[in-house]
Symmetry: C2
Subunit: 243 residues, 2 copies
């Protein structure tokens, strides 16, 4: 180990996919620099992210982690897997490690589906210009996809007879699941309330993760950005369930 | 190593995401049973997949690999990573392994975007019932996303000054990139032709992978399913570029 401090590159004005990496680091108390949220004088700002991805190789999009000086990796699940293994934040057993990665990838699929509820046509167009499709996609997401994903994670936790996805020990997909539940409640408060009553283990996991020392400290800090209408989880009331 | 032969569970009537796992196995000459394509008398057929995912835990959706008797893993990139490491099909260097995973996850994002060109609203609805949105999404995909992804992979290969994503050695994301190029050409032949002229290294990679012994043998076998209008890469001429 060197003295190098991790440098996370992600858009400075939204939690986004960078948040899944931040949560792992914050929960474990690992120091990092959230580069784009430092000033441009310090080499930060949104330019620091743009410079990495524009015309870039290897890393298609943020989040990007500089884990050694000049060495960058991308893809949220890939970054989390690297950090968890490096810092002993996941089980030693190879099957458990694969499961953690598997859960993280399943959550990544869910997160992409949430994003597409408000951008079903193109990320190059404004929400307002794809609202008709967004209304349809959101309705289908609420009716079919929320229960499918929630049911899957509920059963998986139940099968372990403990609090977390991999049993007694909280690992990074639990942190990501927590954030995803927070995000879905922000985006679709009525739909979330209507569904979550059926999933006691998801509620218990959410409580347990939120009470963790590193997570609670992070949430009450200025480092935790609120959800907003630039990110993945956006509250557009017209997309939620009707009363 | 035991005598257990890998069992791949995937929908029997489309290449789908199962194909990325098949290509890795076929290229390396690793034996496997494509379970759902065996008869129901042998425990196969579509029922074998449904039985695994309906009410299931851990594995949200196919492809699912039974890699030891009774032990299943899911998520395409997770399965490929496991197989590549187990069978020495990827570099030993941890950074190269992360890069391979990173490319595979970037391809998974691209593949999901291709899927959503014909199903932008919901997988629970027929294409015909979401065609208006599909026309819009496809146009945006062709205009913005194809050049963004193709440009990224082209630059990445160029940076290695060799044929493949990780340099001289062909690894599983190269096989997946090959299949994705084949699929995009099937789905959008006019758009593919219009774009691919700008990406000589993608064309060269496609030629090189197609000429590999295991891939060529697979493609000429009955095991290779043609693309069809049940899968990810569907040819709906109205979604392609106009003449």
């Amino acid at each position: 180990m060197t003295d190098f401090v991790y440098r996370l590159y992600y858009w400075p004005s939204l939690p986004g996919r960078g948040e899944f990496v931040r949560l792992l680091l914050e929960d474990a108390g690992i120091p990092y620099v959230d580069v784009a949220r430092t000033s441009e004088d310090e080499g930060g700002g949104v330019q620091s992210v743009l410079a990495l991805v524009k015309g870039g190789i290897d890393c298609f999009a943020p989040p990007i982690l500089e884990y050694e000086s000049g060495r960058h990796i991308a893809q949220t699940a890939n970054i989390c897997q690297y950090l968890a293994i490096t810092h002993d934040l996941v089980h030693e057993d190879p099957f458990d490690r694969m499961l953690a990665n598997q859960f993280q990838l399943t959550l990544a699929d869910l997160v992409s589906e949430v994003h597409d509820t408000h951008h079903p046509i193109s990320t190059s167009m404004y929400y307002e210009d794809q609202k008709d499709a967004a209304l349809l996609r959101s309705a289908a997401f609420i009716e079919h996809r929320i229960p499918k994903f929630f049911g899957f994670f509920e059963r998986t936790i139940a099968s372990m007879k403990e609090t977390y996805l991999l049993g007694e020990r909280c690992t990074y997909p639990d942190l990501s699941l927590w954030h995803t539940l927070e995000g879905i409640e922000h985006a679709f408060p009525k739909a979330y309330a209507a569904h979550i009553v059926d999933y006691p283990r998801l509620r218990a996991l959410r409580t347990a993760v939120g009470a963790r020392e590193g997570i609670a400290a992070y949430v009450s800090s200025a480092r935790r950005m609120p959800f907003n209408e630039h990110g993945i989880f956006r509250n557009y009331p017209e997309l939620d369930l009707e009363d």
